[in-house]
Structure formats: C-alpha cells, structure tokens
C-alpha cells in the first residue's frame, strides 16, 4: 500500500532549522553505511538479507532503507541493549546461531537456502518461528520464540525505522532541533510537517 504522504520528504528539511549539525552528521554516516560484515560470512548475510526483506519491507516509491547494513553493524559490534533473557546468548552469538538454524529449517522443509525459497514459503517459516514452532537441531539451546521476540524483531524494526524514508512514509516530523513545533493541537500542523493526502 502506498503511503499517504507522497509529497513529503523528511530529508527536504536537511538545511532547515529542523536539523542540527549533530543530526546531519550521524544521519549522513548512517545512510551511506554498506552491508559488510566481518563476522557473519556470505551465507548468513544472505539469510539475514532475506529476513530483512520479509519482516521489514521497503517503503513503496521511496529511497530504500539500508536496514540490512544497520543490523549487520549491530551484530558485528555485538552491541546489546542492556538486557537479554537468561539463556539467550549475546547479540552476535545469538544471531549467528539463529541465522544458521533458519537456513537449516529452509533446507529441511524446501531443499533450498532461506534466501532462495519463495516469499510464501519464507513467510510460513517465519510465522512458525514467531509462534515457537521451530525445533530443528540447529537451534541447539536457543529458544526460537525468545530469539524472535527479544532479538530478531527489536533489532530489525529499530534499524528499519531509523531511516528517513520510513519516517517520511508515516508522516513523522523527523529531526526537530533547534526548531520544534508551534501548533500541537489535534488537527493542526506546522508548514514544515507532512500533509495527509486523502485517498
């Protein structure tokens, strides 16, 4: 479904008072980040790329988000969020094991890598994963459902909605410093906010 803010682009405010230098600096670095991993290897990156494509689809008619690159960076840095369920390994180890296990499930079920099965097959497999119904040997001690809700979903979703294309699509104001907003009441907007296009 195309979004309701086709004429709106957060990045059009790049040189406006809505963006400060720090925000420009970090967004610039983020948007040019490439999906290169020191720790995952080709097969796992391919599996992860497919996961990103199915779980966090690209916005229609907008510059694609580099979600894969951001997730890889997080995994490579082994950067945790300050909590993980007892039994779930640290970020990198958990992802390595899960990517192998997801690929093994695809091979077991469809005789092909997760990156190569059909969209429908991939989605069925992911649904089973989200419901805790995958128990292949490759999971080892990793609980698939815990991985899904405490690692996979937060990591993918946080990376995806860190990209300006996704902000534009939802009509989010985006960066707002030093200039914030004047009109806060229901039904009002400032000229530098997105305009909802009635279908």
């Amino acid at each position: 479904m195309a979004d309701r803010y086709p004429d709106y682009d957060v990045l059009a405010k790049w040189d406006s008072p809505s963006f400060n230098d720090k925000t420009r600096e970090i967004l610039h670095a983020r948007m040019k980040l490439l999906p290169r991993s020191k720790h995952l290897g080709e097969a796992r990156v391919a599996t992860l790329a497919r996961l990103v494509q199915r779980v966090t689809p690209q916005p229609e008619g907008r510059a694609p988000a580099n979600t894969l690159a951001l997730v890889i960076a997080k995994i490579d840095a082994d950067a945790g969020d300050g909590f993980r369920p007892a039994g779930l390994p640290r970020v990198r180890a958990a992802w390595q094991c899960a990517l192998d296990a997801i690929n093994a499930e695809a091979r077991e079920g469809h005789g092909a890598a997760f990156a190569d099965i059909s969209d429908a097959q991939a989605d069925v497999l992911l649904k089973a994963l989200s419901e805790g119904q995958l128990h292949g040997a490759a999971w080892g001690n990793l609980d698939a459902r815990t991985f899904w809700s405490w690692r996979l979903i937060p990591d993918l979703v946080s990376a995806h909605w860190a990209h300006p294309s996704l902000w534009s699509a939802m009509g989010f104001g985006g960066p707002a410093s030093p200039r914030g907003y004047l009109r806060q009441q229901a039904g009002y907007r400032d000229p530098w906010e997105a305009e909802w296009e009635h279908a």
Binding site: M1, T56, G80, F83, S130, V157, A159, W161, G173, G180
Partner: protein
Amino acid sequence: MIDQRHDTLDHTPRCGDGRAPDPLVPAGWLPMREYGEDEVDFVIVGTGAGGAPLAAKLAEQGFSVIAMDAGAFFRPLEDFASDEMHQRKLYWTDDRLVDGDNPLQLGANNSGKAVGGSTIHFAMVSLRFRPEHFASRSKLGYGVDWPIDWREMWRYYEEVERMLHISGPVRYPWGPKRPRYPLRVHPMNAGAQYLARGAKALGIDWTETPIATLSTPIGKAHPCVYRGFCVTGCSTNAKQSALVTWIPRAIRAGAEIRDLAMVGRIETDASGRATGVHYHRADAWHFQKARHVVAAGYAIETPRLLLNSANAAQPDGLANSSGLVGRNLMVQLNQAAWGEVDKEVRAYKGPPSLAISEHWNYTDAGKDYLGGWTYMSQGPLPAQWARTLARTRGLWGQALVDEMNRANHTVGLKMVGEVLPNEANRVTLADETDQYGLRIPRVTFSYSDNEKRMMRHAVAFMKQSLEATGARDTWDQMDDTCHLGGTARMGRNAATSVVDADGRSWDVPNLWVCDGSVFPTVGGVNPSLTIQALACRTADRIGALARRGEL
C-alpha cells in the same frame, strides 16, 4: 558507522585539568576543583536523580565531594541528535540478564548511563507521592510504611520543584494544598486534549501535568520548543535534567565530577567500615579514599555494587545482614490503551505526557486490588512505536508497515501503576562477567495477581476514556513496565531494611544509599521528584549529624 558504545566519548573523560564541561554552552567549560587521590569526605557513586542533588548540597555545606559516573559528560546542544538510534549512548547497555515470569526490558526503558543519570532521557513528569503512600501499611493495609512522615517530604518537594522550575497548574486537583508551581503550564498537545476530553466525559478530574521543562527561558537555558524527542534526551536544555541543574551547582560549590568512572567495588577495613572505592577510568583501575561512600547507581547497579563488594566479614554482600540487598525490586506498571481517531494527533510533538489524571491514585473504593495508579497521555517515537506494535500485536512484514503509516491518527493513554514489594522480585549476581570483569546482574521479576487485577482495571478504564472521545479500533498494550525502585529499602530497623531514614546503612555506618533503591514502596506516580526530595533530605540530615558529631 552505527553509533553504539564505541563512541569516542566512551573512552576519553572530559572532566579533569581543573575543569568540567559546561552543559549549557557549546564547547564551554566550568572551572572545577579536583581532589586527586586524597581522602575526601564523600565519594558518591552515580550522578542521577539521587547522586546529583546530594553532591551539590553536601559540597555547599563544605564537605569535600567526588561524584563518579560510569557514563559520559554531555553538552546536549552539540552532542545530542534528534534520533532514537544515535541517542542509545545515553542508556545503560552493559550486559544484564532478565528472567522470572515477566522478564523486564531494561536499557532505554529505565536505565541511564551518563552524568545526570536517567534524568537525561526521562519524560519529566514531576509528581508528589500521595501522602498515604508514605504509610500504606498503617493507612491502607498493604505494603510497608516509610520511616519518613509525608509532611516532611512535602517541604522537600517544594525545594525540588523550585530548583527545577516545574511548570504546572495553578490548582492541583488531588491531595493536600500545595504551593503554586514556579512556572505556568505548557500548551497541551493533541494527546493531552484527548485525555482531558475523556476525563470530562467520564466525570473525573484531570490536569495539565507538572513537568520539568521550562515554559520560560531561564539563565542560559531555552524554553521547550515542543520537539518531542524528550525520552532520547533534550537537545535544547529546556529539560531540567540533573545534568543542567544540580551538576553545575555541585561543581560551583566545589564538588569534583569524574565522568566515565565505573566503580567496581567498595573497599572495607578490618572493622567493617568503608575506606573508599575501586573504580575503572581511562583504561585502568584506581582507588579513591573516602571517609564516606554513597551508592547512588539506581535499583539495579546499587545492589549489584553492594553484592560485588562482599568481603570475608560480610560474605553475602556489603550492608546485607538483613538479606534484603537486591530484594523487593519494584517497577511500575506501564500498560496502555490505544485507538484511532479522525483528526491528526501527530503524537511526536511536545513532551509525551502533558495531561494527567491521578483519580485512581487517590480513590480506593471500587477496586479489586491494592495500590494506586495514574494515567497520562503518550507520544511514542517511530522505532519505539514499531517495537510496540510488533511486540503487542504480533505485526511484521507489510502489516507492520501499514499500521506504522497510520501512526499520525493514533492516540494513547498510559498508566503508571504501583507494584507491591515482593521479596522474590530481585537483583542477584550472575556468573558471567562484564567488560570490567565484574559479575553482571540478574534481574528476576514476575507480576503478582494484584498487579494483574490493577492493570486490567486501568486498561479498561483508559479504553473507556478513549472511546468517549470517539476513538475506534482500540487495543491494549499489556506488557510494559517503567521506573525501578526498591532493592535497598529504608526502614525503621536493621532486620527489615537495608538503610535508615537518612539512607545510612545499618551495618556499615559510613556507607549510604541515595537513589531510587531506598523506596520501601513505589506508590502510583513517577519517582524522580521523590528521589530528589529524599536526596535533599539526606544532605540536610548528614549536615545535622555532622554538627552533632554523629557522622
């Protein structure tokens, strides 16, 4: 680069050479007194809502004070981006394990790591406890009494409200009379308007939220510009965090701040008295001698530090003869109701909680559970909202993208609900160690039936309020929590508490706790004003004890 914990700030302390950053001026500095390794009167571990006011008020009384924080010393005007991911640098992201029936989400949700502590990314709601909640056992029949009378706290609340220039309503609808708030209220955003309309429709009181962000410029600080990124840090300095209020005051009064200084252990001598702290800074371990040590690391790191400081004489952890260090961990319930409305809400604008109702914090009748709760309007940012939708409603793929794209028409109400003390909810040490070689905390939490009943009532009520304003397709967010408390509770005797009313350990007379972990109960409002009021009280009490020669 994904800016995770290897930001350069993480490695290079800014405080030193006789100066500390001026948080209100880009590239600015404040002259700062330094004590080197000489023995000081007080070393304070943590500079958040508890540690920062204590540092300021002890230094003003002439004590020599060093306050250490594991986090960085930021200048928000130049260091903060308008960005959820980048601002991860404000959170405590070191390893912690969570378990129990309802494992807690920590990090961004309730744990800061910076000079200024969690107040850098807090939502600024600044409420006084309901008076009866200081004595819930004797007045309401549950929990445990505080060793402090509410009237005394009322005076300290006033001191903190003035210091933080709280903006609030002329007349507050609940509880005993209170003085006027120092600054006028902020204009309400759409979320607040929906709360107000719902409350009117249901016939209960509501008000503009007393909130710690400026509605008028004061000194070098700008007024709030309603940019809405409050929970990722305020880049305009309108937010009255500890960083821009108490910390400069502490530095001017002669306190030394040591940023990026992680305390790993409190040292004790043969007589069991604390002698100082071992801390890690600039890639090496150091020892700071002190006549008094204050733990102010909040409800997970404070008990972790006490447990990690066990010695031959106190093998179960420092100050733990009661066995209560780490026990009675409380959070607050943070369940929500959401719905869709015709008008655009654009919840990303303004501080997230500009209107509030304490009706169910002050009303005891008509409940099938114990304890109180407050509810307020909400304004989630995109990534947080996406995680909420994915987690609560199981959305992913195109369904998630489509729902995200409806966000501007979504309105929500969120509770802050009282969790009762329960010894089984606790912080212990896991066998794994962190980057400093210190054992990491394991945080165990499960809801009791009482809490489940409270959240059911609250969510149903908030939904009713939303529907009364025309919201459609309402749904519940049942699994969120906020704010920590407990784990080193204060009380009237050594058997049933860790510290006394002044925050002084019963077991180790020169060891103190001054943060949210001393709460015996958490009440039905957000905790930061109470933590700061208690810190002011502790500072006064230390002065009084010193004058009597009882320190």
